[in-house]
């Protein structure tokens, strides 16, 4: 999908509505022919970033594959809120097995389809960050190194939200969770821990790795389309704010996702065969405080006296990410 340049002065915001686009460029969600793969009536929280992300990802993938697709889901919020027996929100063949085996199950499905000569049916697997970067990481790495024909999507809300907001390997430093409370000299999650799975995915030199957020849904759809146009192991890491776990108003989901990107905290980029091929530049760099303040998980940083030293460290991390991925446009440097 080619991008159409939009003049943002037309809206005065960073939101580019579909009405400004040529009909052919509008999102899959804006089309009457969308598949509603994850249909309404599910039980996600109000403002759930994961539900939004999954809906866009799967509908875009369904459009590319013309509905010839199977989804594998690891245990987690997405699985729980979509399939309370005897109901299901899924309008595609959908399989949930366990928490830590989504990638291997998807490999098995792909192998079966190949054995049956039905490689026209594509496989998308999805999990939260716990199911991806922690408990499912062994099977994920196996799926990557074998280059199995699976698009694996991680909806990263930076913690174990389904079990009551505990820390995961994707929880950022200083964030308060149920087991990294704002207690002691180093409140919140510890600095120097955690991992950024997209870089590890790239180390497998798989055909495609990309990151996205639910703030830029055109970009998300375009990346799904790119990924589904390829074969082999592909990885898409989508930042999905969680109002419950982040302690943010449900109306803030999209704005927080955008601020995560615009502050440089979450880099949005694409990589092929292990090399970065494109980055989404910051449109207007914001200090990390703008992203941190609306979230109660960082409230301990902003009290009186607060922890300006920790905020500084978080800013330094964002600056490093900006430099590392080259997120500033020429004129902004």
């Amino acid at each position: 999908m080619a991008f159409q340049e939009i003049k943002l002065y037309q809206t005065g915001t960073f939101v580019a509505g579909n009405r400004l686009l040529d009909p052919a460029q509008r999102t899959v969600q804006a089309r009457t022919g969308r598949s509603n793969t994850l249909t309404s009536g599910h039980r996600a929280c109000r403002g759930c970033g994961e539900a939004l992300g999954a809906r866009y990802v799967l509908d875009a993938a369904m459009r590319v594959t013309k509905g010839s697709m199977v989804a594998v889901n690891s245990t987690g919020c997405l699985e729980v809120f979509t399939t309370p027996y005897p109901e299901s929100s899924w309008q595609l063949p959908w399989l949930h097995s366990l928490f830590g085996n989504g990638p291997a199950v998807a490999s098995g499905v792909a192998a079966a389809l190949k054995a049956k000569g039905r490689e026209d049916i594509r496989v998308v697997a999805q999990a939260g960050d716990g199911g991806t970067v922690d408990i499912g990481f062994g099977t994920l790495s196996g799926m990557f190194e074998r280059n199995d024909d699976v698009l694996f999507v991680c909806y990263d809300n930076q913690g174990y939200m389904n079990t009551g907001v505990q820390r995961s390997g994707a929880t950022p430093p200083a964030a308060r969770t149920a087991n990294t409370k704002a207690l002691g000299a180093e409140p919140g999650n510890v600095f120097g821990q955690g991992k950024f799975a997209p870089l590890i995915a790239m180390a497998h030199e798989i055909p495609y790795v990309a990151t996205a957020t639910v703030a830029d849904l055109h970009d998300l759809e375009a990346k799904v389309e790119t990924a589904m146009g390829m074969r082999g192991a592909r990885y898409l890491h989508v930042l999905v704010p969680c109002p419950l776990g982040w302690g943010a108003d449900s109306s803030e989901t999209i704005r927080l996702a955008r601020l995560a990107k615009e502050s440089g905290i979450f880099p949005v980029f694409e990589a092929e065969q292990g090399d970065v091929t494109a980055v989404s530049k910051l449109r207007r760099q914001v200090p990390v405080t703008e992203y941190l303040r609306p979230q109660k998980r960082y409230a301990h940083l902003f009290g009186d006296p607060g922890r300006p030293d920790i905020v500084e460290r978080l800013q330094a991390r964002a600056d490093r990410t900006i430099a590392r991925f080259g997120l500033l446009s020429e004129g902004d440097r």
């Binding site: 097995s97 366990l98 389809l113 099977t139």
Partner: protein, 413 residues
């Protein structure tokens, strides 16, 4: 075709003739020769239409089988020991979802202490996983059971383990009649899944089920296991009709006519026990053997019928439940409920210790001559000096209580 062949090769050949469509495997001794051989067969094209996944762990292997089986294909894997335990979560999931994978378990002890040799502590630990468990007595039977296992699994939509003793069978060279492809094709038609992941008919598989229906789902799983008790004998007799030899079935009675003492066992140890029984019969001892071919589901009625006239039942098992006693023994007692027979529990051949004719003769004599109390776990050939010295060593923090003393004293006889 009759060949002098290693047990693992025989199983691999039998599996290949079952035309699996997806094999996912991870190496662990003593299962390795099976999956190596299958890898060769896929690479050479002898096994066509099969995808072979070399996964990163046993957990990954079983998970890939779950995905492949849910997509409607015939799936296979093999493992042993620690590998089976590493699969544990996925084993329960496969049976819960009703996915008909067949798995060979080359039985091996569970550590610690780490031990690569044969006993049944791996599969016994997974006896409640919802898988059907069939135990092979010989390499011929191990090969044959896989054909029946695929039929059974796919008919019931339930996973099946074929258990064969690690090294004792997997690495032993014996003459085996390998089933001809045409016969296998006639006996085992392609899998027709009742439900599968299919974009033409989208289905949600693996939904969350709460208290309102969980009991019913579990009940149905139990009912499937019960149905297997009817299907297994039919599959065995159909097998015999086509292949001209007897393999499989629920139980294998041997010289039970007029037997007052019956030895119950599973797996390759049955051969040695039968030899001992033959000799004792010649000496006029009224003794027989009951082999358990199918351990899960437990053939309660068949075992009861076979043991109806026994006075002493000696269960020789290659594993035990620490703190409790024999595992198979408990099920045997269930079958004997209301009958007069006494049950003697013996843990034998743990971690690959050979179970010799000599030891078995001594054991049977102890039972017959009243030197061994019933309903107490005995350890065959236990070095009582070693364990008693350890138990009495000051400072070990394990006070030698009356139970332990009793146990070691009794088994030391």
């Amino acid at each position: 075709m009759r060949s002098q062949i290693e047990g693992s090769q025989a199983v691999a050949q039998a599996i290949a003739r079952c035309r699996p469509q997806v094999i996912a495997a991870y190496p662990i001794s003593p299962q390795t020769h099976i999956v190596e051989s299958l890898s060769d067969l896929v690479r050479t094209g002898d096994l066509e239409g099969c995808e072979y996944l070399m996964v990163e762990s046993e957990f990954g292997a079983m998970s890939a089988c779950i995905g492949a089986a849910a997509a409607g294909t015939r799936t296979y894997t093999a493992t042993s020991s620690q590998g089976l335990l590493f699969m544990a979560e996925a084993l329960f999931n496969a049976s819960g979802l009703g996915l008909p994978t067949v798995m060979t378990v080359a039985n091996r002890a569970i550590g610690a202490p780490i031990n690569i040799w044969n006993d049944h502590s791996d599969t016994m630990a997974m006896r409640d996983s919802g898988w059907i468990q069939l135990y092979a007595e010989s390499n011929q039977e191990a090969a044959d059971l896989h054909l029946q296992a695929f039929r059974l699994a796919e008919q019931l939509e339930l996973p099946v383990m074929v258990c064969m003793d690690g090294f004792v069978l997997t690495h032993a060279f014996e003459p085996v009649d390998l089933p001809e492809q045409a016969d296998v094709d006639a006996y085992l038609p392609p899998r027709v899944p009742r439900q599968a992941l299919d974009p033409e008919e989208p289905m949600t598989i693996g939904a969350m089920v709460g208290p309102e229906a969980f009991t019913e789902v579990r009940y149905l799983m139990h009912a499937k296991q019960a149905a297997a008790l009817d299907i297994i004998p039919t599959l065995a007799s159909e097998f015999e009709e086509r292949f001209g030899r007897s393999s499989g079935g629920l139980v294998r009675p041997y010289r039970l006519d007029g037997a007052e003492i019956v030895v119950v066992a599973l797996g390759s140890i049955l051969g040695t026990i039968q030899d001992v029984v033959d000799t004792l019969r010649e000496e006029g001892v009224p003794i027989g053997v009951l082999g358990i071919g199918c351990f899960r589901p437990w053939p309660e009625e068949e075992v009861r019928a076979a043991l109806a006239s026994a006075r002493q039942v000696l269960v020789v098992e290659r594993s035990f439940a620490p703190g409790v006693g024999g595992i198979v023994s408990r099920d045997v007692r269930l079958s004997l409920n209301g009958l007069a027979a006494e049950v003697f529990e013996v843990a034998a051949g743990l971690g690959g210790r050979p179970v010799t004719r000599e030891s078995l003769r001594r054991l049977i004599a102890d039972v017959r001559e009243g030197r061994m109390p019933a309903n107490t776990l005995h350890f065959l050939d236990l070095d009582t000096q070693v364990v008693q010295r350890e138990l009495r060593r000051p400072g070990t923090g394990v006070p030698p209580g009356p139970h332990v003393d009793h146990l070691t004293r009794e088994s030391g006889r």
